[in-house]
């Protein structure tokens, strides 16, 4: 396409990415990047697909599930902060974190149930326990966590309302178990923050699966910085020292784990993390996390700065979850992300002399 007489002086452009789909069943595509992206690190093999149609199916999950990934992390970190507040005598941090944990975990559970094809059957999640199913393991973790977080938060609500909840003789029981309940929730906090990474990793969705080794570290870091951010928003600075520490540790973990993950993943399967909507969300999530972390470090003792940094951290975590979630769905929609990494690894195994484990055989 020529637009002006000076076009002939432009440097030549690489060929455009051809749309597959269309007419030919065995069309090939891939060029060497279009300049706006990094050059891929492996030579592009020839690649054919069935009319450009996906090979694997994306999980039928809507934004509700991404919201749950975020809220579950907030709840988990909050329960840890609450337990810390409980053990080190920080009553306001303890109260706010407990309330935050219950709110987040309840809203998250509602989002999860809403996303089911048959929401009225959500209790079927608990009709069995299956170690091979991260969803099953996670449902039990979520239930155990919610029990502790619920009791601890109700005790706080009762105290805030001046013992006016109609509890009767149960009040003594409640006050006796609220401490242990808070600790119980904290015990299940880590698993609650980490299992969602296994849930995504244990799928045939190319980007999630390729990320399975580092994703748990990304997710627990994200949970730490998000819950610390929430505490910095809700709680006066005199009690949020530990939250600020946790925020900084979370940001460090998040940025490092994300970088290591991107580096160790199959380069083709990692592409969706850098492209389109998901790429933009992850880029902003990193910026916000770093900004929030710096704000916490430099001005965390100032109430306003602390609150703004907290908000930045919460948004960073939400963007991380949405970005990873969206990148996975995107990788399932394009057959390239299924076929190319698989062809590459098959070829690599064959080159290394392993020929007995291919699904395609000559005899």
């Amino acid at each position: 396409m020529t637009l002006s007489e000076f076009d002939s002086f432009r440097p030549s452009e690489p060929a455009r990415r051809r749309r597959e789909g269309g007419k030919r069943g065995t069309g090939r595509r891939r060029d060497n990047g279009d300049g706006s992206r990094e050059m891929p690190m492996v030579p592009e093999p020839e690649f054919s697909s069935y009319y450009g149609r996906p090979v694997v199916k994306p999980a039928p999950w809507g934004d509700d599930v991404a919201i749950y990934l975020f809220l579950g992390g907030v709840a988990a970190g909050s329960a840890l902060l609450a337990a810390g507040g409980q053990l080190t005598g920080r009553p306001v941090l303890r109260r706010n974190a407990r309330l935050g944990a219950l709110t987040a975990v309840s809203a998250g559970a509602v989002a999860l149930v809403k996303d089911l094809g048959r929401p009225e059957r959500f209790l079927h999640m608990l009709r069995t326990f299956k170690v091979t199913s991260p969803m099953s393991v996670g449902s039990w973790i979520l239930s155990a966590f919610s029990a502790g977080a619920g009791v601890a938060a109700v005790a706080e609500i009762d105290r805030m309302s001046g013992n006016r909840l109609p509890l009767g003789p149960l009040r003594n029981v409640l006050q006796a178990v609220e401490g242990p309940a808070g600790i119980e929730a904290a015990v299940f906090a880590g698993p609650l923050a980490a299992y969602t990474a296994v849930l995504l990793g244990d799928t045939a969705t190319p980007t999630w699966n390729a990320a399975h080794e580092e994703l748990p570290f990304v997710f627990v870091s994200s949970a730490c910085l998000a819950s610390a951010g929430l505490a910095m928003v809700t709680t006066p600075v005199r009690e949020t020292g530990p939250a600020r520490n946790l925020a900084v540790l979370g940001v460090l973990g998040d940025v490092v784990a994300m970088k290591v993950m991107e580096r160790r993943m199959d380069p083709v399967a990692a592409e969706p993390l850098h492209q389109g909507k998901a790429g933009a969300m992850l880029k902003w999530s990193e910026r916000l996390a770093v900004a929030g972390g710096l704000g916490t470090l430099l001005g965390g003792r100032h109430r306003i700065v602390a609150a703004v940094s907290g908000l930045a951290l919460l948004s960073a975590s939400a963007l991380t979850r949405f970005g990873v979630f969206e990148a996975g769905l995107e990788s399932a929609r394009d057959p390239r992300y299924t076929i190319e990494p698989q062809k590459n690894r098959l070829a690599a195994r064959r080159a290394a002399g392993v020929t007995g484990d291919a699904i395609t055989t000559g005899s």
Binding site: T26, T203, A204, Q342
Partner: protein
Amino acid sequence: MGQLSGPTDPTADAHWEHNHPRKGFFTDTSICIGCKACEVACKEWNHNPQDGNLELLGSSYDNTGSLGASTWRHVAFIEQGQDRIVEARESGRALVSLGMPRIGPPAPAASVPADLAEADTTPPDTADFRWLMSSDVCKHCTHAGCLDVCPTGALFRTEFGTVVVQDDVCNGCGTCVAGCPFGVIERRSNGTVKVSTSREDQHAAHPEVPNAGIAQKCTLCYDRLVADETPACAKACPTTSIKFGDHDDMVEAARERVADLHAKGLTEARLYGANENDGVGGTGSVFLLLDEPEVYGLPPDPRVPTADLPKMYRRAGMAVAGMAAAAALAFLGGRA
């Protein structure tokens, strides 16, 4: 819990206590004529509703598109020219020269209906143009990703070694959809298909969609198997391209067929799913293909995600420990 990967007997892994032979398909795509009798038979027997709009997809004679919640058999059509035929022949020859080991002694050929036994099944050797047709179906994997990740136990291993969803147990969580390395199982939408033709009113009232919101896929006609019947698709197949029987016999028949085709010079023939050492422990539905799997929309090197689950749990455990340590450090470290 049985093995997570590698060769195994899935029925025994699932703690069935009898010696029911594993059932399976051998789909010989070299004699498929693309009539779609299997698609129709499956729809009818299983009362599967219409899948999406009635539209022409512009992909040769395939207007079904792909396997899905309401499409449990899907016939793929691929048109190829000379270049691609030569390439396929080369890639097939390369597979033969890898010299993959045969497992077990050859058994007598599987039974083929007598009236077709004498038929000449050599695919026509057209050097510059060919149609590939292949009837795809759930693979009933030895290590089924869908089944492994199902949290409710709705998906289960039958006594025939097949993988089936229990409609009244599934809560539509959708985990299995992402867990299948072949993109087979799908959650059925509530089925509000909009028919975009002028005959709107004729199609406006679709019958109510059964099992909406529930994951659906081929059951290998479980209801027919318990009655000792052949699955509807295999029964309807006029060319015996879809063969049904004991899994071991199917694999043996597949090996004989591919050797036969190679002997006739058709080196593009290859088997898909007959190797129990592959990433899913071999499939219950074995295919004979005439080109690379991805040409048919099949993954070239599928691996059941659960094979890596122990490692994932270990990594998650480390992350949990890290999170606890970070929290402890946050409270104990900086009191300043």
